[in-house]
Amino acid sequence: MAELAVDKHVKYILAVEKNKDSFESVVMDPLRMNGAYWGLTALDLLGKLDSVNVDEVISWILKCQHESGGFSGNIGHDPHILYTLSAVQVLALFNKLDVLDIDKVATYITRLQNEDGSFSGDMWGEVDTRFSYIAICCLSILCCLGKINVEKAVSYILSCKNLDGGFGCTPGGESHAGQIFCCVGALALTGSLHYVDKDLLGWWLCERQVKSGGLNGRPEKLPDVCYSWWVLSSLIMIDRVHWIDKEKLVKFILDCQDVENGGISDRPDDAVDVYHTYFGVAGLSLLNYPGLKAIDPAYALPVDVVNRIFFSG
């Protein structure tokens, strides 16, 4: 079986962060904050977070904060809940949450909750269960989850539960592994997992594994490395991960590496990117691949980072 080419992936991630000539990087510019989270969390899991200049990153992050308390994807862009979570997660990686005015960030998020308990992404009002997860995860990291209406948030998420036990983006929306991760994660972080039919959902999730060993996101679709995270973390949160064939999944992820140039792609032989590199490494961590730091399935941050937030006062 192939091995994880750790050094190549570290080199790839650092190059992506520094050397921005490609069309891909230009396109990624408005969501640089997400890219920073993917790249830096992957580096931390690989044990190489110290390869990065902390002060430069922190200073750039703070430049992305707006008056409203929200963060944008990059300097000169508008704030959005997506980048607010990534910013908070990156600060948590570096143990720099103290640079934040927590009330300010919390206010931004609280104002995005709607009457029915759902969350909008920003002032323009797009609603999606992704944003429910983001709001709950972000405020949980900042230890002020009580600032939103948790009961209504949970009830909205449950209204997106489908008959197969899965969850969609809005009520009636098709069950999709990415949305399931968000809903299950949000329910986990609010102590509401008892509302999940774990056996039913567990079976739906383990049915995502296809012959190649990879996981897809919906019935009859192709496998993709990113589902190694969305499906796997969901299975772990509902305590059903033993229902998939872990060895075959490890092999699938490793087959998605570019062992020459570093990076991981969505499926074998495709082009690599930071997003799939992070999800491949995170998936391997969940599968206890040797040499990787453990990652928390709900917070999507290394376990030691999460412990530091909650157990060091």
Partner: protein
């Protein structure tokens, strides 16, 4: 990227129209974390956009500039935001905006910003836009019938603006084209349960069961109709157990001795909920035994778990768990 229809991609610095504007370069700070080298046209367009954005100029040329910027990078959500502000300020023709979105839809069919912008536009156009919108979404789905964004948007249009009458027929058509399309099955369920014209799930159940059984018999390894079948009996498991059509389709598929995993699972679920099988079921399951599973457990449910453990080996742990659960229940 689509080609631009309005300007010929001429450099802005050479256009008389933009002579009064000083373009603003990107401010990455003194020590940029991520210094970026742009292609010239991209760089120039974004420099002019930054100037307009900072000046909050909501003019016709600003509208054209956002279109150019969107073509160059449709993932730039700030440009989409600003475009909405400009559209509002100019009280622009939103039917034209919808046409613009439709032209760039195919190369941006999975772009969150585009779909959200589209909803914003349709919301403002109101009920009259419903029928046209449903038609336009069909065009997009004809290229990718599982596009999650398109389906999510379609569900919103139906609920906000109506148009339910033809939706079941549309699902039917899509399923004829690809019976494995899980999104179409999901939409079918959406329509059957929510359409104001169909009478609700219970009223539709019998005909839907017949339809689904046909689909199963054509492709018993198709995950979708099996889940759909279960969904038709939401909260009414007794009715599921008692419906002879359900147990009958399981038996038919098992007797085919091929692609019977889902059929066995359904039968197992029925047994766990009190289904009383006639001897035919036992005989059919026994006929599936191989050297791996011989001799089969005399208990039908246990035997099914044993067979599935071998035949669906990726999920062996799941079937072992199901079997253990049976032993616990039996105690």
């Amino acid at each position: 990227m689509d080609s631009r229809e309005d300007d010929g991609g001429e450099p802005l610095s050479r256009m008389a129209e933009w002579r009064d504007v000083t373009p603003l370069p990107q401010d990455d700070g003194p020590n940029p974390v991520v210094p970026i080298a742009y292609k010239e046209e991209f760089r120039e367009t974004m420099d002019y956009f930054r100037a307009i954005y900072k000046a909050d100029e909501r003019s016709p040329r600003a509208l054209r500039l956002t279109r150019r910027a969107i073509h160059l990078n449709p993932g730039n959500y700030t440009v989409w935001h600003f475009r909405r502000l400009v559209l509002e300020a100019l009280n622009a023709d939103l039917d034209e905006e919808l046409d613009f979105l439709q032209r760039i839809a195919n190369s941006n069919s999975k772009n969150y910003q585009l779909w959200h912008h589209r909803r914003w536009v349709v919301e403002r156009l109101g009920a009259n836009a419903g029928a046209k919108e449903l038609n336009l979404i069909k065009k997009i789905l004809s290229l990718d019938a599982k596009n999650y964004h398109a389906w999510s948007h379609r569900q919103w249009v139906l609920q906000a603006l109506g148009g339910w009458e033809d939706e079941l027929g549309y699902c039917q058509q899509l399923l004829e084209e690809d019976i494995f399309n899980n999104s179409a099955w999901n939409q079918r369920y959406f329509v059957v349960t929510r359409s104001p014209f169909l009478g609700g799930l219970k009223a539709m159940r019998a005909s839907e069961v017949r339809y689904t059984v046909e689909a199963i018999l054509a492709n018993p390894n198709n995950e979708c109709p099996w889940r759909y079948l279960r969904g038709l009996y939401k909260d009414d498991i007794k009715a599921l157990v008692n419906d002879p059509e359900i147990s009958s389709v399981c038996l038919k598929v098992i007797n085919m001795k091929n692609n019977y995993v889902f059929a066995l699972k359904m039968l197992l679920d029925l047994l766990c909920h009190g289904f009383q099988p006639c001897h035919e079921f036992g005989d059919s399951v026994v006929a599936l035994r191989t050297s791996d599973t011989d001799p089969l457990d005399p208990d039908l449910s246990m035997a099914i778990c044993d067979i599935l453990e071998h035949v669906d080996s990726l999920r062996a742990s799941y079937w072992i768990w199901r079997k253990n659960k049976l032993s616990v229940a039996a105690v």
